[in-house]
Amino acid sequence: MIVKINGKKKDIESEISILNFLKSKEVDPKKVVIELNKEIIKTENYNNIVLKPNDEMEILSFVGGG
C-alpha cells in the first residue's frame, strides 16, 4: 500500500502499526515525534494505530540547531 512518509511516497506492507513500522526502520520510538495526517500521535498509541493507504506521516527528531 502507498503512504506518504516524510514527504515521500512509499510502498509499505499493509496493516502495519506505527510501532512496527518504526521497528522495521530501526527507529527508536522514544526519540521521535509523529504526526499522522497533521495530528500529533502520542507514543502510547504507536502500537494501536495501523497505517492506512494514503496516510501522510511525519517522523521527526531533534537535531543540532541554533
Binding site: 516524510n6 514527504g7 526502520k25 527507529v27 527508536d28 526519540k31 521521535v32 515525534v33 504526526e35 497533521k38 500529533i40 502520542k42 511525519e58 517522523i59 521527526l60 527528531s61 531533534f62 537535531v63 543540532g64 540547531g65 541554533g66
Partner: protein, 255 residues
C-alpha cells in the same frame, strides 16, 4: 556571587545559551556545555533520514540541561505553531524559541508573524522566546503577549558580524521589563561582553563557537566574556570624561 537568572520557570546560574548547529560532530557538544557552563541549549526539529546513519543529538545533551527547541524552517505563524507543538510532544518541556523566517538570503525574522505565534503559544502554555528584528513596538507587544523574553538579533544568523543593531538593542533593554537575550550574529567574546555590559540578560551563541578553530576553548572564552560583561553591568560603569583626571595624587615635592 549570587546572580540567579529566573526565566521560564527555571533558575539559571549561567547567562550563556548555546546553539548546537554547525559542529563538525555532535560528539563535541558535551565538552562545549561543560566549558561554557551553559544550562540552556537550542535544538531544531527535522524529518529523520532513514538512509543516513544519524547520530541523535539528544544523546549528547545531559538531562539536567534546559532544552530550547526552535521553530526554524517556519515561514509563517501557522508553521511555527505546528513545529512548537511537535517539539513539545518530544517531552522535553515547554520552552520554545519562535523563529519565523520567510527570507533565505539574510534569514531575517518576520516580526509580525512571530508576534501572532507568540500570542497563541503563550495561551497554550508554552514558555515563548521570540527571535526578532530589534524593534521597540514589537518588543512591547511581545511583552504584553506574555513572552518570557525578547531575543533581538545582533546581526544576521551565522554572520559573526557582531552588535550591528546595538543602539536599538539598548533601547529594548531600557524600555522592556522582560529579559532581553541577544541572539544571532555575535561573533566573538568582546561583542558578548558589550551586550552584557549594556544590560542584556543573556546571549545565545552558536556559530561563533562552532566555526572557530577550537570550539571548546572558544566556549570557555564566551563563558568568561559573558560573566565579565554581566559583572561590569552590575557594578555600574564609571563615568566618561573628555579630559584627563589624575588617578595618582599630584604631590608637590618636585616644585
Amino acid at each position: 556571587m549570587n546572580d540567579i537568572f529566573e526565566i521560564g520557570g527555571k533558575k539559571l546560574t549561567s547567562r550563556i545559551f548555546i546553539g548546537t548547529g554547525k559542529y563538525y560532530s555532535d560528539t563535541i557538544i558535551p565538552e562545549i556545555i561543560k566549558e561554557s557552563k551553559a544550562e540552556v541549549i537550542t535544538v531544531a526539529l527535522r524529518r529523520i533520514d532513514f538512509n543516513a546513519e544519524t547520530d541523535n543529538v539528544m544523546k549528547h545533551i545531559p538531562s539536567n540541561i534546559q532544552l530550547m527547541p526552535n521553530t526554524s524552517g517556519a515561514r509563517n505563524s501557522e508553521e511555527a505553531i505546528r513545529i512548537a507543538k511537535l517539539a513539545r510532544a518530544m517531552g522535553c518541556g515547554n520552552w520554545i524559541k519562535i523563529e519565523v523566517i520567510p527570507d533565505n538570503k539574510y534569514l531575517l525574522p518576520d516580526n509580525y508573524e512571530t508576534l501572532k505565534a507568540t500570542e497563541i503559544l503563550v495561551k497554550d502554555g508554552f514558555a515563548v522566546f521570540p527571535y526578532v528584528m530589534p524593534d521597540l513596538i514589537i518588543a512591547k507587544a511581545l511583552e504584553n503577549a506574555g513572552a518570557e523574553a525578547v531575543m533581538p538579533l545582533a546581526a544576521p544568523i551565522g554572520s559573526n558580524k557582531g552588535l550591528t543593531t546595538k543602539d536599538t538593542i539598548k533601547i529594548l533593554i531600557d524600555e522592556i521589563k522582560i529579559p532581553i537575550i541577544v541572539d544571532a550574529g555575535i561573533g566573538k567574546p568582546s561583542q558578548a561582553v558589550q551586550a552584557m555590559e549594556m544590560g542584556a540578560a543573556a546571549c545565545l551563541v552558536n556559530t561563533a563557537i562552532a566555526t572557530s578553530d577550537n570550539p571548546i576553548l572558544m566556549a570557555k572564552a564566551f563563558k568568561k566574556g559573558i560573566k565579565a560583561g554581566r559583572y561590569a553591568y552590575l557594578s555600574g560603569m564609571g563615568r566618561v570624561k573628555e579630559k584627563a583626571e589624575a588617578s595618582s595624587p599630584l604631590t608637590s615635592f618636585l616644585d
